[in-house]
Symmetry: D2
Subunit: 279 residues, 4 copies
């Protein structure tokens, strides 16, 4: 078990018994309430991200997401709008009052991305990009750290340790599915990660059911499953018009699907001992 | 996706649009209510299974489980009490009024096991034991079919097809975790299997969080996750005294843990649109 | 490591230091020479298996294979000719002087199959069908035991222990690929299994590159890799006309491909310290 | 199959039919001869790397390896000597006349590392670190690209495409084992990758049996297996005294083990149609 080898590390319960709560511009992750991070996979235009921000805000999301630097398997796929996208995202965050999170994929980009976002996201492909982890650890921005595609829980927590060891205590873990032999879904969501992480670490943990399933039809049941498992929230992709998305359209929720998700989250939340979601 | 290749098969939604409800001696699986199957991993003695039956019945379980023929990785491990165990289990079922389920591991044992139990269980190791599937398909006993350790959803549903093609329409699927690289839990519970199976098949599906996690500490959050995902119920191991169990003690719930699980299931159930659990 | 837990078991090097050599009608597996088992995936007709037997014999194969009872994922796939197929296979074995191996998929069929074959094969799906293992362990026929699709080396060796514990010391292990996330090949051939098994067990081990790759184009390099890893031989599918095969045609070698394989095996064999292949 | 989606890409056979041969200071990879890259996991001192260089040169290695920037799972593990280590490695390469390869783990380090080494290595953790791939693609140094721990062949080749698309045609692929459920070895060496890559790409491919197995006892059989599969060479860790290594000691070959490996490689090489190894 991972527990033993982590004793005394900064990420461990032995080091810090009480839950870590990450707070940013009025939103918090890991406290009594649930977090819902929503927005488009990629920022495609000023209009698209503004429309997405307004609709997820209206439905009750607490944090806005949107990708500007996109890590893509093929060099010929859409790579994101870069700084222009960050600017649109920041504007949408300001207008709606939602804090924003966006991915940074290179250590040297950390200062630039930090200028625009409230939370730095480090994606699955970069979970063991140690230069990036250390650079993010030297900022005062919380870091949302996704689990690597085939990372063990121990490796994931040690990646968080790199960030904390560099000086940044505000790490949010995000389970997003692991690679297995099963092809009916894009990845296999490992929800046992939630209670295991809660047992051995004080860090908050949320779940991304979109990348895990790769199919918007399965996002709602998996989001509810994540909350049942004890996750501190969920992160979902929402697009004003999923059919026209430049990336990950199949797994993005439509506005109606997102409202349904918020409705169900708010129904489940009190039963789980957590209040109604609101910023 | 599995969906395409299953079109028109007996297990498929295309073949039968409405949900299959399996009913047995007053209990039903797949209907509006949730099912909770509980009992010891192995029947160890008359006293042990009677005590277990009374306590799970008192807490609200709807079906009693208990292993008499145990498939074990090593030939030198405890292999179960055999027919003697079945007799004790049947007696416990009669006294408490709970229908009983127990595993059958060989085709030639199907008539014997059918004499004692209400539901035949086919375990992970035997998911592609076609002789066993066909023999169980020729009985009038519902079959609880566990997913193979590394089976795809398509292979699992085709195993159910063997049972249905032999004449038995009453199949209950049970997700129990798949084998992956992660060792923090015994197996990786694949909860996406629940909504995917619901989409492509009419068969009921329940979840076994004990074998999936291998640790009683994680059973409650995973059971709640399973219900969030839309499962028709859960199957858990409960032992009057887990520390003394002859097999799987670490993953068996104590009586107090099981009462807590029933309490939480009953709290979640109405929110999920399903009534309080009762037989 | 598997080694520790196997100390003293019948399969272990601690129990028996010298290599086990399985001998049957003039052919041997695990001795100084290499073994080449060849023949069609399924016996389809008397003519087909006779033609296959003659051509593999002429090219230098030492044992003839052919399936009569076929375990198939779907109940609607060709299930084999059954006893009729066994009779054709036995006839082809007699005519060519090659010992024959065929799969048995049910414990109750063991006596029947033993009447026709020299070696009983237990396939991947049945590696943990303990009734079948025990029944095969009570015969005087060597058993070729394939590794389960997701079996660890320890589980595989403990399956062999079931056969040996029942009284049969003649077990041949066969690595045939494990299930992983990679889809470029049908399974992932785990050739490290060969030296690890050699280190902890005295049993002979061969490799099946056809089921591992699922593509005849990759069989020759993988067969050579298996020999480089120290395997005692290979088992391959050869069909007089792969394009017309009733099962596994894509992974079956043509007569010309098989002759090329034998040619290369015979070139490598002396370098590996093993003589030219011949019965 | 990966083949289809790669048609026309720079890495594909359709784009370039003849094998790519990477030549560097007298050594070549992918030509008629075999390549043996050897040296310590990490450069620990001037003396250690000089001693290692002399012994691998004497035994017949064609390229010297040694890590100066070490990506480590824990921030508290030895991270390598950095530029100091590169200087020692370069000196050892000059003295022995062997070209040298060392890992670069951050895009901004590419110019520095390029000053000291003949071949840039990009490790498994960074296979999808696109900034690093692109930066390496803008140098005139060949790049040895290891397969990611859970990368498909298609993702791996698309990572190579990033390098080639940036202008660098000299990519050497290196299979080093993938992550699976099996724990008897550190990773599962996927030797089918060799013939599949040869079929769909023109790039040379070598194999690292040390990281794959994690145990020096299995390196020799796996190296021979790699050559049997058609690899253009192997890369192994050799330490003057494995018991004292600062990292990966269990999987490092001793001087005697490495001489035995070279001896066996030279015996197999002619049979495989490739000449005796020499620079």
């Amino acid at each position: 078990m991972a527990a033993k080898t982590l004793v005394g590390r900064l990420v461990s319960r032995e080091h810090k018994r009480e839950d870590t709560v990450v707070s940013v511009r009025g939103a918090s992750v890991g406290g009594p309430g649930l977090t819902v991070i929503a927005g488009p996979c990629a920022v495609e235009s000023r209009e698209q991200v503004l429309e997405a921000a307004r609709l997820v805000k209206a439905a009750g999301a607490t944090i806005l997401r949107g990708g500007a630097f996109k890590p893509r398997t093929s060099p010929y796929s859409f790579q994101g709008l870069g700084e222009e996208g960050l600017a649109y995202l920041a504007e949408a965050g300001e207008e709606t009052g939602l804090p924003v999170v966006s991915e940074v994929i290179e250590a040297s980009d950390v200062p630039l991305v930090s200028d625009y976002v409230d939370i730095l996201q480090i994606g699955s492909r970069n979970m063991q990009n140690y230069a990036l982890l250390r650079r993010a650890g030297k900022t005062n921005r919380p870091v949302l750290l996704k689990r690597g595609l085939a990372a063990t829980l121990e490796e994931w927590l040690l990646a968080a340790e790199y960030i904390m060891d560099a000086g940044n205590p505000a790490v949010i873990l995000c389970e997003r599915g692991i690679r297995t032999y099963e092809t009916a879904t894009r990845n296999t969501l490992d929800l046992a990660a939630v209670p295991v992480v809660k047992a051995i670490s004080h860090l908050p943990i949320i779940v991304d059911p979109c990348h895990a399933s790769g199919d918007s039809a399965y996002v709602l049941p998996l989001a509810k499953a994540a909350l049942g498992a004890g996750a501190d929230g969920v992160m979902v992709e929402v697009h004003p018009c999923p059919g026209e998305a430049l990336c990950d359209g199949e797994q993005s929720l439509s506005p109606a699907q997102f409202r349904e998700l918020m409705d169900q989250v708010n129904k489940m939340s009190p039963v789980l001992g957590r209040g109604v979601v609101s910023q």
